[in-house]
Amino acid sequence: MEFLNRVIRRKKSAGSAKERLQLVLIHDRTDLTPSALDALKDELIEVISRYVEIDPTAVSINIAKDGRSQRLVADIPMRNSNRRRVK
């Protein structure tokens, strides 16, 4: 089992290099640390919640790569409002 693990892990070293680099490069390029991104997310939730009802735990904010530029992608599921149900 140990041997098998080692074989599997070895096989993936290029894969983990790529994954790690993807994250590192995004932060190098944008100068946005994971904690700053978390703060951004919290504030965004706060602002949006003033207007619509959302589920804060379902919100995801990610930096997506588009060639050499980055884009901030937010997925913010809205809660079905009570008003709608009454209607």
């Binding site: 070895r10 290099a17 790529k18 680099l21 390029r29 050499r68």
Partner: protein, 262 residues
């Protein structure tokens, strides 16, 4: 005659900048081009030994900049090819002896005398790097398929964009096909996907690089080695020729039959 100024840089040290400059220069010169190489690594010169011209240095880059000699006097002619020259770096000075505007002035003077000016940049992103890219019309960023080299290349590519020296072209050096095959080395596609710039060359790891530097005879002089061939391909691409990329990751007999250059 108006030369194109090409700078080879990398961020990280030891990825093969000097070797590449020497070999691309030999490649271009063997296509009949008039080539001047400039060693931009003041204080840590090496292009002279890689080219095997270390015994012929009289004047260097700093002597030219400080007016102790004429440009022509600092150009060492490589006798193995008709039109290959080296302007060596000073060894006993530091990078502050030259400024970016000195480099622009020097290259402007040289432009009328040759087809290509190849500048070997030092590692890092400081003064020596700034000097080396100041006059560049085209920058080649060199990397190895390895995390720190790729990260530093990305940083340099970003700086080049900000300095309006982009878009840079990428050279991926020291690829080990067997390691890529078993998933232990980033592939050409991986690196291209990460860095997202155009590719101009892929060079397999080759022991001949060390043999060549031992002798002071770049591999490109002898077209048999894979790496030498890869550098010739880069030279041809700089000339505007469309040369298919070597399939370094699947070298088999198919490769030998179908490769563009033998």
């Amino acid at each position: 005659m108006t030369a194109k100024v090409v700078t080879v840089t990398s961020g990280k040290g030891g990825v093969g900048k000097t070797t590449s400059v020497a070999n691309i220069a030999v490649g271009l010169a063997s296509l009949g081009q008039r080539v001047v190489c400039i060693d931009g690594d003041i204080g840590l010169r090496n292009l002279d030994v890689v080219l095997g011209l270390e015994n012929r240095i009289v004047y260097d880059l700093v002597d030219v900049v400080e007016g102790r000699c004429r440009l022509r006097q600092a150009m060492i002619r490589d006798k193995r090819l008709p039109e290959l020259y080296l302007i060596p770096a000073a060894q006993t000075r530091d990078k502050s002896a030259v400024s970016p505007s000195d480099m622009i002035r020097l290259c402007d003077e040289l432009r009328h005398e040759c087809d290509w000016i190849l500048i070997d940049s030092p590692a890092g992103i400081e003064r020596g790097f700034r000097n080396s890219i100041a006059a560049a019309d085209q920058v080649l960023v060199m990397t190895n398929p390895e995390v720190s080299a790729v990260r530093d290349a990305d940083r340099v590519i970003g700086i080049l964009d900000a300095e309006e020296k982009g878009p840079a072209l990428l050279v991926i050096n020291r690829i080990k096909p067997a390691m890529v095959k078993r998933g232990d080395m980033l592939s050409v596609e991986d690196v291209l996907d990460l860095l997202a710039i155009e590719l101009i060359g892929i060079v397999p790891e080759d022991e001949n690089v060390i043999v060549a530097s031992n002798r002071g005879t770049p591999m490109a002089f002898d077209n048999k080695s894979k790496a030498g061939q890869a550098f010739h391909n880069i030279a041809s691409r700089l000339m505007g020729e469309v040369v298919p990329f070597m399939d370094v990751e699947n070298q088999g007999f198919f490769q030998r039959i179908f490769s563009g250059r033998k």
